[in-house]
Symmetry: C2
């Protein structure tokens, strides 16, 4: 067993610490966030911090890093108030990872990685055509997390495009059946296999 205290973490080399802390707290969802800049450049960025905020109205949250010129997603969402989430599956995860490279603001990750574009009639923000679960969102608010300059972006779901066959009778979306994968940390990808669905727990 390894027993680490705050001091031990503080003394880690910064890249080692980032890898360590990012991979510590569990498997995460993996979505490509699609946005468009004010000058019309389409952007795609992998996000593993999507959280459920509420079902009515249907809302999702995600954590954005401190705003810098390198990070177009937050700037584009502020400008256009719209974004898309595109579930990453086994056939596109390597291209999704490549979207984390530091392209400049005038380069589109769609062009750079070859991921195909899809537009719906509801949003200006682009979808990834080869993603099986597409969610369109409208910005509700950006909540600043002051102590480290990150922020929580909250959006309302205004559109969902997904295969009919993965929606079960009670509303459960069988994302495993759609080929969705999970990730750990910033660079490690996993397939899933079902253990069990368990009925609603009572005391």
């Amino acid at each position: 067993m390894r027993h680490l205290l705050l001091n031990d973490i503080a003394e880690m080399n910064s890249r080692y610490r980032a890898t360590f802390i990012n991979s510590l707290s569990g498997f995460k969802s993996l979505n490509l966030v699609g946005t468009v800049s004010e000058t019309g450049v389409n952007n795609l960025a992998p996000f593993n911090s999507i959280v459920h905020i509420g079902a009515n109205p249907p809302c999702l949250g995600m954590i954005a890093r401190p705003a810098t010129e390198e990070h177009q997603t937050l700037a584009n969402i502020k400008a256009n108030k719209q974004y898309t989430l595109n579930a990453v599956n086994e056939s596109i995860f390597e291209q999704a990872h490549q979207c984390s490279a530091k392209y400049t603001a005038d380069q589109s990750e769609f062009t750079e990685t070859g991921l195909p574009l899809f537009y719906s009639e509801k949003l200006k923000a682009p979808y990834v055509a080869s993603s099986n679960i597409k969610i369109g969102l409208e910005l509700i608010e950006i909540i600043p997390i002051h102590f480290n300059q990150t922020s929580l972006i909250i959006g309302k779901i205004i559109e969902i495009i997904l295969p009919e066959s993965i929606i079960e009778e009670d509303g459960f979306v069988n994302i495993a059946k759609a080929g969705s994968i999970t990730c750990n940390g910033l660079d490690s990808y996993y397939k899933v296999s079902p253990l069990k669905r368990i009925p609603y727990a009572k005391p």
Copy 2:
């Protein structure tokens, strides 16, 4: 393909909608959050909304539902400023699910589910002895999400207890090797198998 708009979601039956929206956005991490009440009752609750907030200082966030008498975790964290995260693995996920049952404030999920207690010298909040990755946190802040009365709880990691063998050379924590599982929605559990780790992406 099914194409749903905001109206279609609004018209869903409320339990169907909760199941649908909760399972839509991807696989999530699964941790039991351990807290203790002011009167000394130990509480355990499953959370699937853990997000990375920062590595330096090492911080994690999680979303708490609107505060009600039924939800002891938020009240306990407010009172004690401390909590633990305990990674759920294949041998304890059914007990972890059972912790979501509505026990009263004077019942401890440790007693009700048989999950064994563990205390470190650093925290009053209890750990789950049979969890392989234990993280102790100190409250930094609770950020209210006003529009639906949820909140983002942010804590600083002050202690980590994990097997030496799952820490790789570059700091990557191989949680799959520790038996950690993932979940989708409120009741569906999955094992993982590795696809690939991909080197840092460059344009």
